[in-house]
């Protein structure tokens, strides 16, 4: 058959099919045009010249396991903390809890309340949900509080899927959970731990890890629309089983640094960089910072400095340190050792820079409490023996 012999039916088929593809193509072009918009970097000053430091606990000692806390700052200056708690990690009675703290100095955390459990998420998603796990809270492009969290039908972390809930009132009420698709294999094996990078168009680059067969890191680009949040792109940092859980820091509109948890104990933190607004990332390379296969986090301070919270050891999670880099992650100086108690666990730090210039750190304290610290740059400089 030749082109000249095309029947009317063939031409109609050609036209209909081309129309279907053009429709999809127009949508796809819209997504592609957003791929290289650059980072939205908020300028926050140095803060008070006087050193300031306070510490406490987010939760009360309930005798239950607590883990994987994350923080966000609401538009009114209040802090929101979300974490999971239950009889033990991965059990069916684990639920996600939320507490808030006022912006006033010395304000206490509110009584925690449950925001998601396997039963509540199952009702919202209209499907069976066996377990909930890691959650991360942040402000989305529409100014709402968003919580991306993990659910599993059964089994372990390898069977994780991502979901999102949105709240327009700072976590008091929530829209029903929605499923986010991030893997072609039954949408299994994706986890979150750290906060997203904000892009100039309002979308977000959320650090993720895949833990189904391979263990590797990446970013999901999320965009908010009306009552929903959807995945518009994904970027992989590397394959294999070397690194996971990126902690990303935007240094300017085009440059960002990602520090990665080692997928094996006894290795070192990985470092990757983007110089095109997050559109692409360098292959992660090992740094000289040790990592015992444990979560870490980083945050940008003033003058391009980066603060890192991590377990400064090759095995165990008994020591937690703060380190500072003044050269975009090339070299690090230890600020202070926050915890050091053989046999104990201090893990999964989460850092947040407040709009008033203070830095908030929350981490798992002996798996039974969530400790929070608030300090400013003058305190960091004092620990380093430098004058601000």
């Amino acid at each position: 058959m030749t082109a000249g012999a095309w029947s009317r039916a063939t031409w109609i088929s050609f036209g209909v099919i081309t129309g279907i593809y053009l429709w999809a193509g127009v949508r796809a072009v819209g997504v592609v045009s957003r791929a290289t918009v650059g980072f939205s970097v908020e300028t926050i000053g140095h803060g008070d010249a006087e050193p300031s430091f306070s510490e406490g606990f987010v939760d009360h000692d309930t005798g239950r396991m607590v883990h994987v806390a994350s923080l966000s700052e609401l538009s009114d200056g209040r802090l929101v903390a979300v974490w999971y708690s239950g009889s033990h990690e991965g059990s069916g009675d684990v639920a996600l809890y939320l507490a808030t703290r006022g912006r006033e100095k010395g304000a206490a955390w509110s009584q925690p309340h449950e925001v998601a459990s396997p039963a509540s998420v199952a009702r919202e998603l209209h499907r069976p949900v066996g377990k909930v796990g890691n959650a991360v809270v942040f402000i989305d492009g529409e100014g709402r509080l968003a919580m991306v969290f993990v659910t599993m039908p059964f089994g372990g972390w390898a069977l994780s899927s991502l979901n999102v809930k949105l709240s327009a009132d700072g976590g008091t009420s929530w829209l029903p959970a929605q499923r986010l698709t991030s893997s072609p294999l039954f949408n299994l094996g994706t986890l979150v731990k750290n906060k997203p990078l904000r892009l100039a168009d309002g979308s977000l680059l959320l650090p993720i890890s895949h833990e189904f067969l391979g263990r590797f890191p990446g970013f999901l680009q999320l965009s908010s629309r009306d009552q929903t949040m959807e995945v518009v792109a994904m970027r992989r940092l590397c394959g294999g089983r070397r690194f996971l859980q990126p902690a990303a820091v935007a240094l300017d509109a085009q440059t960002a640094l990602a520090l990665l948890r080692s997928a094996r104990a006894g290795e070192t933190i990985g470092v990757a960089r983007s110089t095109d607004g997050g559109a692409s990332w360098s292959e992660p390379a090992p740094s000289h910072l040790p990592n015992p296969d444990a979560g870490l986090d980083a945050v940008a301070l003033s003058q391009g400095r980066v603060l890192l919270a991590f377990n400064d050891q090759r095995s165990g999670r008994s020591r937690l340190d703060l380190a500072l880099s003044t050269d975009a992650g090339a070299n690090w100086s230890t600020v202070t050792t926050l915890e050091d108690e053989p046999g104990a666990e201090f893990s999964y730090p989460f850092l947040l820079r407040g709009h008033d210039g203070s830095t908030h750190l929350v981490y798992t304290w002996k798996r039974s409490r969530l400790k929070d610290l608030t300090f400013n740059e003058a305190w960091i400089e004092g620990k380093l023996g430098r004058v601000p």
Binding site: V16, V29, P184, V231, M234, R236, R241
Partner: protein, 227 residues
């Protein structure tokens, strides 16, 4: 809500297909329809509080739009007796989805840094490739173009929870079936070639090989049916 309705319909089509596949070929149309209706009814009875489609959704096992199109064509052929997809279209489907599975899954699971799954978002070039394949299929009057068109139309209409084009094109069961059919066909072909070379030391007649791959008989024989 749209995704929920689609996953329900997709699951019921899959149940129907599984049912009619086990109904004897000489059964009457009424028997096939009755068996299908019973199976669909059973699938909608909640077990542990959830129906079968919701259990599958909980496991992330919602069929792709391509799977639904293929399963619907299969059911239509078995119940109504009209082959929407002829043998050539089925053969093209197994080859296409087998190739797609090989490209997609190993790398999506972490083999290397390249991630073809990421190309399913903002899928301009992927759509371009699929369009070119579809035009070629229309040119050759291959009905597999219908399956691809259904998948892309479902993507346009956002019938799944996913915003990734790959999830509309292929799913793990479809990949497994395609690769199994291709592997079985390959084994059959190898055995036939060995039989021929054993009886004819001169080797395989290239003309026979060409005819075998051109009329779809090797796939059909692997599936145990007439081409």
């Amino acid at each position: 809500m749209t995704a929920e309705v689609f996953s329900l319909a997709a699951c019921l089509v899959a149940v129907l297909a599984a049912t009619v596949a086990f109904v004897p070929r000489d059964a009457t149309r009424r028997t096939r329809l009755a068996t299908g209706a019973v199976a669909v009814t059973l699938a909608l009875i909640p077990v542990g509080g959830w129906t079968l489609p919701r259990w599958l959704a909980g496991l992330g096992a919602v069929p792709s739009a391509s799977s639904v199109a293929l399963l619907a064509a299969f059911v239509w052929a078995r119940v109504i007796g009209w082959d929407v997809l002829d043998a050539r279209a089925w053969r093209t489907a197994w080859c296409f989805f087998g190739a797609a599975a090989v490209v997609l899954y190993p790398m999506a699971l972490g083999l290397g840094r390249l991630d073809p799954y990421a190309l399913g978002w903002g899928a301009t070039w992927m759509l371009g490739v699929l369009w070119a394949i579809s035009v070629g299929l229309v040119w050759r009057q291959n009905r597999f173009a219908l399956v691809l068109a259904v998948a892309v139309l479902a993507f346009d209409l956002r019938l799944l929870e996913s915003t990734n084009l790959w999830d509309y094109l292929i799913d793990p069961p479809l990949a497994a079936v395609s690769l199994s059919v291709l592997a079985t066909a390959g084994v059959h072909r190898l055995r036939r070639w060995r039989t021929r070379t054993a009886s004819d030391p001169g080797g395989e007649d290239p003309g026979i090989a060409a005819r075998g791959s051109a009329d779809g008989s090797w796939i059909a024989k692997a599936e145990g049916r007439n081409p």
